[in-house]
Symmetry: D2
Amino acid sequence: MAGNSFGNLFKLTTFGESHGVAIGGIIDGCPPGIELDLEAIQAEMNRRKPGQSAIVTQRKEPDEVKFLSGVFEGVTTGTPIGFVIENSNQKSHDYSHIKDSYRPSHADYVYDKKYGLRDYRGGGRSSARETASRVVAGAIAKQMLKNVKINAFTSSVGDIFIDKPYQDLDFSNIESNDVRCPDSAIAEKMIDRIKQIRKEGDTIGGTVTCVLQNVPIGLGEPVFDKLHAELGKAMLSINAVKGFEYGSGFCGAKMKGSEHNDLFNIDGSTKTNLSGGIQGGISNGMDIYFRVAFKPVATIMQNQETINKDGEKVEMHGKGRHDPCVVPRAVPIVEAMAALVLADYLLINKTYS
Amino acid sequence: MAGNSFGNLFKLTTFGESHGVAIGGIIDGCPPGIELDLEAIQAEMNRRKPGQSAIVTQRKEPDEVKFLSGVFEGVTTGTPIGFVIENSNQKSHDYSHIKDSYRPSHADYVYDKKYGLRDYRGGGRSSARETASRVVAGAIAKQMLKNVKINAFTSSVGDIFIDKPYQDLDFSNIESNDVRCPDSAIAEKMIDRIKQIRKEGDTIGGTVTCVLQNVPIGLGEPVFDKLHAELGKAMLSINAVKGFEYGSGFCGAKMKGSEHNDLFNIDGSTKTNLSGGIQGGISNGMDIYFRVAFKPVATIMQNQETINKDGEKVEMHGKGRHDPCVVPRAVPIVEAMAALVLADYLLINKTYS
Amino acid sequence: MAGNSFGNLFKLTTFGESHGVAIGGIIDGCPPGIELDLEAIQAEMNRRKPGQSAIVTQRKEPDEVKFLSGVFEGVTTGTPIGFVIENSNQKSHDYSHIKDSYRPSHADYVYDKKYGLRDYRGGGRSSARETASRVVAGAIAKQMLKNVKINAFTSSVGDIFIDKPYQDLDFSNIESNDVRCPDSAIAEKMIDRIKQIRKEGDTIGGTVTCVLQNVPIGLGEPVFDKLHAELGKAMLSINAVKGFEYGSGFCGAKMKGSEHNDLFNIDGSTKTNLSGGIQGGISNGMDIYFRVAFKPVATIMQNQETINKDGEKVEMHGKGRHDPCVVPRAVPIVEAMAALVLADYLLINKTYS
Amino acid sequence: MAGNSFGNLFKLTTFGESHGVAIGGIIDGCPPGIELDLEAIQAEMNRRKPGQSAIVTQRKEPDEVKFLSGVFEGVTTGTPIGFVIENSNQKSHDYSHIKDSYRPSHADYVYDKKYGLRDYRGGGRSSARETASRVVAGAIAKQMLKNVKINAFTSSVGDIFIDKPYQDLDFSNIESNDVRCPDSAIAEKMIDRIKQIRKEGDTIGGTVTCVLQNVPIGLGEPVFDKLHAELGKAMLSINAVKGFEYGSGFCGAKMKGSEHNDLFNIDGSTKTNLSGGIQGGISNGMDIYFRVAFKPVATIMQNQETINKDGEKVEMHGKGRHDPCVVPRAVPIVEAMAALVLADYLLINKTYS
């Protein structure tokens, strides 16, 4: 049962390999009557795409999305929205050296073992290129969500962390620098670190924090489809993600109940919010905030020893165009996945009225 | 779309409230021909059940599971396995005080908001009692998995951590103490802390680490149903969970690619295993290890100020029988969820042969 | 992927074999706040159960349904509703003769081939006993549907047909005779035929017609989950069903467009209704009517030649208690399945508001 | 929950309106390693497409399918197969007259009611144009099924029926005439009738019979996903279908058990096959044969009185290019849907090994 669909009522199914003809997807279940702002969708695409700045991969893709159905006279019809994004800047020859070899910590080895063959060019389906389709769907979901505010940002690169609670950050600063960190001083340090890492031909990890505000109360479907469980699955499905925590997260594991409980105000809001906006798996109206951990990208420009299909040792030289740090480009992907989850659960909640 | 089912091909659907007549479930898709070891299933149940030791809740439930179908002459038939576990030791009067009040950091408030009403007794469906059904299904999944080794243990309570890598631990020690920590010295400290916390009428959080060994290569369904994404969702659906990380986890976010990459041995195994046994969302044959963070249980014996349905301030006194620390009882639940995920993905993988 | 669940948002999962401990199911997704009329549910059960009259099987089951969860103080909570129905009147020794033999036109052979083993007693999971669970869920769905009228009746037994359009029938007569035919004169002929067939130790087929009135406009999800496609699947999943047609059905295949088209009245209703209340797979507010064909039950009291597991010829004598004609007992099952489909699609439609 | 996906393990999701930019789909779950015969796929497309002969619609579409992913060096990779088919011969002005009016027995009215708006051109999503995507997927499924023989043919047009059992027909004759009837004499009568109907500006219905041979034993998932139930849903989802019957069908409802039962041969095959190759919802190795009823297409060239959006009477003149009888073009669609069901259930059955 291949896993290329996400969502229940607002469902995205995607296709496409890094160096194939095109990537794209179908959104099934988008409600009718939404006037789509196509520029806003393209803007989200542009946030994600490669070749934007000096600290990300130099592959240049226009990443223009073309809608093929489901929109009539600018308004969604309730019928499935099919879309494609052409691949144009593939340099497949960059990958001929891995045709028979397995790059360490990549999916090359397991794809061969699972499927018996693979499109090796650019990592094929395992490449993060497929996340472009997620951003298209997430952008449409955002337009469905209207009042909900979704803001993600880079909260750490390597061992450089933002040292303030998110409430003290100005989200309007997120897009003001290449690393998408709303704290300008920390952003500079992050950028310097990434440039350093790039010179070394290495890569580095980081974390993305995401804050969802004005989320309606009542989203979430216990006991297995709790809101934070679905958010966690959504984030963990993004390339290079190694961890997810929400609210007090792993720190909460060190606390006592008397310290951790969020007491109520008279209007149902809570005085503190260590819960992270979700209790019993259902949103309670408070801010939902979570953090996603990204490992350093596996493709480095340094030499590595590895093996090939026949079990022989080979030396691999990193080639192709790569990201020293994926975290800035992951920010819009995290937002897109959050929007998809919220849109889906919002539709589910309509059945309770 | 209510979320009371887990899995695709090996699917568990559960029902039951804490103080209802019974809890139970249906397992659909268990392959035929498996000779069920009923004692082993009951043994897993006994690991989870309340009233076992001085450091957990004193509610005593026999937690005997009764199978109603799907097993003929001791062997699974491939037809759905229905089972029930009777609730016997409900002290519903213990909960009359919360009939109209909302316990802080519990699901009381959101259930009322979402559904318009709730079975308040013992937390109703939001109570961790429903996890007993998961353990039944997980126990059956374990028997399907045969060679796979699944071991979970308490890795921290509050700020008391095991300070060794899991490879240096003896898993046969896990059941040797009430806190299910395989390091005896650390276990003692944990137990002392929990007893202290209990005297204070408070609760404390902790983490569970789980190690899966001998997992076949190739399990996982990119791009959305990656193995670790499904494991993450499974764990996050357990009561009180606030975080999930696998392999290098959040630490990996601080590392460089040259430090993080797992180089190959000639036979396809890797020299290091920061990947945590999963690459590109697919198992690669190495140990899969992950950590789950549990917040302190919200029910404390100290007084708390809260509100009731009419938005009035009320004072709440903790009553009922509760856990000062859920982590030891969560250990078999973590194993059960891991077994369910692996069983499901193992069945999916048969379609590739 | 075992197929024991039906529905998407209003979902029923069932379990249970004919001679197992019990049968039952879980209804997930029933909206909260419905005051359940338990007597009405039991009344539907009584319509289906065996041992009711001289023209059906003599197996006597009380068929009392016991609810285990999901209902609090008589009102649905929105949490899953688990229920069991105990099997009490199994005469398993009646089936010892088929332990190793395959009854012609039964599922014995294919179950052994598919699963490798089977619970042979009473046909195990393949027995129509499992339909009792469907009737429980259908009864609850009916209570959710309020204004929709669902009426099914026996429209033919063998070559004895009702010769009037349904509009000329009095549905209040359906329960007035054992064969559930609203035309008293035809009903008598049907009963006589069935008694005759019973004396011969034979069985006979028939058809059930079902009429759904006051169905809201807009139910149905093109292009694959069209309303009539889901109704068709629902009916075809009932034991012994060999055909489904709605509206003009197979007769419509002989007609011309100028004869078949339903012209509009000013208010959107249609002058004729050969469409059968569904156009483009979506309900249009007119009566939905369909017909379901039942083959004669395979268990006959006459001797038959057959084979056993080892491929040897054996002679089989029909034993056990059986129905000469299942059609009267199928009437409430047809209604139950129709109610499940409508409840599900009604919930889905709420997402469009 | 929009219904634009079909299948579980071999899953097709489609998009596209009659006069939109393009139609297409994604096939998720096609096993890796299948060498795709692209010409065979295009040949199936050509069987379905409009403008082929004098007895079908004169709209000319090249219906060339373009694959965008999931195939590498001619072999399926196990990753999702995305494909598009461009719409080129839309004459949208032909439909301006129905912009605000509702064609009788079409989906115009219900789409407006359900979604609040619709793409009126050519019927939008409700047009049979979307079936082209089904044929692509069905063609790929056929290649996965290898030894299974799938043959569908026109068995009746109006009141002209083939009067032989299918065993006496030569399937190699199906493609020898425009009406796809393997009996040449009957075919001529059918063609004459259709030409007559066309002159009258009218339309006529008919039936398609389909025979599946060499189907492996054991396909089907009781109790709700029985093989014939899924086949029924598949066929009923095709435009204009009003009925489905398999094996003895509605005739079986008139028979007695002693007449209807299929006795076994020693090798497990049956002497007769009124069951139609499926018992208890599971294939038994015998031929599966079923019949699908198509009503006459609703668009006729004669004038019809109807209403518009504002509830006013208007007169409608049939325009556009239409089919006097869809049945010949439905033949490859019926085969495609049968192939999709078998491919899906074949994959499901692998989990039992």
